[in-house]
Amino acid sequence: MIDDDLDSLTVMTIFLKNEGYEVESTLNGDEVLIKTKTFKPDLIIMDIFLSGTNGKDICRNLKNENKTKSIPIILISAHSQIKKIVKDCGANGFINKPFEAEDLLYGVSNFLPPNN
């Protein structure tokens, strides 16, 4: 999970961990490209407005990389053109900000059924 806002990251982590998901998170967008070289997540959730590297570019890079292109990506944003961004970078879904726990869990469950 990538978000440059610590609180967003904390809240989402709590929601997901409550449902039994294992969460690995980072505040630094660039770090994800390095991390995925050694670690392969089942799903990536990322904000598209990140300081430093643009979330859209990270998304595109992940989808261009052979090793990571099969990992589903959910984008999180308040951006009005999120649907277009999803299409452009090849992401698999999106969640609009602000969202509730159910929105996030429903979005995630589409790709990753909750762990019993």
Binding site: D7, A78, S80
Partner: protein, 525 residues
């Protein structure tokens, strides 16, 4: 006998010769007189011949006719006595008695006088004194120039008016707050340029008499000369809006960017041949700069609101998340009071979220970047969903739905849903003492109508057309208690308009309001 005869004959011959000479002279004189009289008689202008004592020797027909007198009552009478003394004019008297005896000839002496019989006249007198064997005669020609004078004076009056108008136009032209110049001929030679024009191009320039290519050479490469050539050649006027022009200010040596609205109007001679061009321009540089500045400010403002709204959504999301987490924890602990308080907090966060969304939507509408995601969806299903959701938000009001048969409609489901939500939440908000809200849908051909009726405070008639304006809020003593940004109906009306629909309100103050929209069901082009 011959010589006698000859002598006698000679004497006779002498006598005869003298007599013959006399007769001949008399005859010549008579001829001359006849000749003179004939002249006098034929001259078109009144003519009178006076002899000593200023008595009339003779006058011509024109005289009798003009002054309405007969030959009988004229000849032999003193001129002053004629026609009941109407010729007793002091200026004429002076002329005949003082000036003429000395000068003998008088030319174009004007006399203005009111004649008893013929009225007010202006006469032009020409007189000549002739001394025929101590028998002085005066020839007096009288020309009635009254009419000529009146025409002349009318012409003069007309000329003065024309001159006055011309001066007026010239002053207007010179002092007009527009830039005006007149260019003559195919080379566009400056004939006139008014003060503002001179100020624009720099007062030190030598314009008049010079072709524009020489007077303002920097206009080359700016397309102006080509336009002037075309106007002159075709005779068609040219209208240029917001034309940027670079002028070198002679005083400062700087190049000034000027923006002009310009009209180049050709003018022609009486045969329709183009003679030159009148250039009329207004300097709108400051206006254009102001507009640009306003546009830039407006863009900055929209960008700011956009970024601000976006930045606001992130903490709101976290806030909402923490609230939910706390709710879950307290629920697990069985602390119902805390759960209730947190759900109130969550409602407030939702309000805040909606306000931010409205701000963001309004900004997108103003910036022209509002995007729609149109799909085919079941209209009644959407309406029912929203009613259920909104019903949860109010315990006081019952939302009564009267829905037409379901219909599929093409449009942005979320945006249309937003409009319906806005209608219902307004109905709740502005009818604090009512207990019902009626929502009806009906099908009208290829269109769907939805109306939400409340029984609340209503909107005064004069304010009804303003409710869809941006930032408009119902105001007044009582209405001040209703919060909001005044964006909801503005956004709703924009959404409806973008779907090629119409939005309306009918209301009676104190009785309630009905808000309706009509949307086409098919995909609009």
């Amino acid at each position: 006998m011959k010589p006698n005869k000859k002598k006698r004959n000679k004497k006779n011959t002498t006598e005869d010769a003298a007599s013959k000479k006399q007769t001949k002279k008399l005859s010549e004189l008579k001829t001359a007189l006849d000749y003179a009289e004939a002249i006098v008689a034929t001259v078109r202008e009144p003519l009178v011949v006076l002899y000593p004592g200023l008595k009339v020797k003779t006058a011509n027909n024109s005289f009798y006719k003009t002054f309405k007198v007969s030959k009988k009552e004229t000849e032999g009478k003193q001129i002053y006595d004629l026609g009941n003394g109407q010729w007793n004019i002091p200026s004429l008297k002076k002329l005949l008695e003082e000036i003429l005896p000395q000068k003998k000839i008088l030319k174009d002496f004007e006399v203005e006088h009111s004649f008893k019989d013929i009225g007010h006249k202006i006469m032009l007198l020409n007189a000549r004194k002739l001394d025929v064997r101590n028998d002085p005669m005066i020839f007096l020609a009288i020309e009635d120039i009254t009419e000529k004078k009146s025409i002349e004076s009318a012409v003069e009056k007309e000329r003065k008016i024309v001159e006055f108008e011309r001066q007026k136009m010239f002053n207007l032209f010179m002092n007009a707050p527009a830039l005006i110049c007149v260019l003559r001929g195919p080379k566009h030679i400056y004939e006139l340029a008014n003060k503002p024009y001179m100020q624009m191009v720099g007062s030190k320039r030598n314009l008049i008499g010079n072709p524009i290519r020489k007077a303002i050479p920097e206009l080359k490469e700016q397309g102006i000369f080509e336009i002037l050539d075309k106007v002159y050649k075709t005779g068609n006027p040219y209208i240029g809006k917001e034309m940027p022009i670079k002028i070198n200010i002679t005083e400062t040596g700087k190049t000034e960017d000027t923006v002009l609205n310009i009209v180049l109007q050709p003018y022609s001679d009486s045969n329709g041949k183009v003679q030159g061009i009148i250039s009329y321009a207004s300097d709108i540089t400051s206006l254009v700069n102001k507009t640009k500045r306003i546009e830039e400010l407006s863009r900055q403002k929209d960008e700011f609101i956009g970024v601000a709204s976006h930045e606001l959504k992130t903490p709101v999301t976290s806030l909402k998340g923490y609230t939910q987490i706390l709710q879950m924890r307290f629920e697990q602990e069985g602390n119902k009071k805390a759960v209730e308080l947190l759900s109130k907090m969550d409602r407030q966060i939702n309000k805040l979220t909606n306000l931010i969304s409205d701000l963001l939507d309004a900004t997108k509408i103003e910036g022209g970047i509002l995007q729609f995601h149109e799909v085919l969806f079941d209209f009644n299903e959407l309406v029912t969903e929203i009613i259920e959701e909104m019903q949860q938000a109010t315990q006081q009001h019952t939302i009564i739905a009267k829905l037409a048969l379901s219909s599929k409609i093409y449009g942005d489901r979320d945006r249309i849903g937003q409009v319906i939500t806005n209608f219902i939440s307004n109905a709740i908000k502005y009818s604090p003492f009512a207990n019902k809200i009626i929502l009806t849908t009906s099908k009208e051909g290829n269109k769907i109508r939805l109306c939400v009726q409340d029984f609340g405070i209503g909107i005064p008639e004069e304010k009804q057309d303003k409710v869809f304006d941006r930032f408009y809020r119902v105001s007044g003593d009582k209405e001040d208690t209703y919060p909001g940004l005044g964006l909801g109906l503005f956004i709703s009306s924009e959404f409806v308009k973008r779907h090629k629909g119409t939005i309306t309100v009918t209301s009676t103050k104190g009785e309630g309001s009905t808000f309706c929209f009509v949307l086409p069901v098919k995909k609009h082009v």
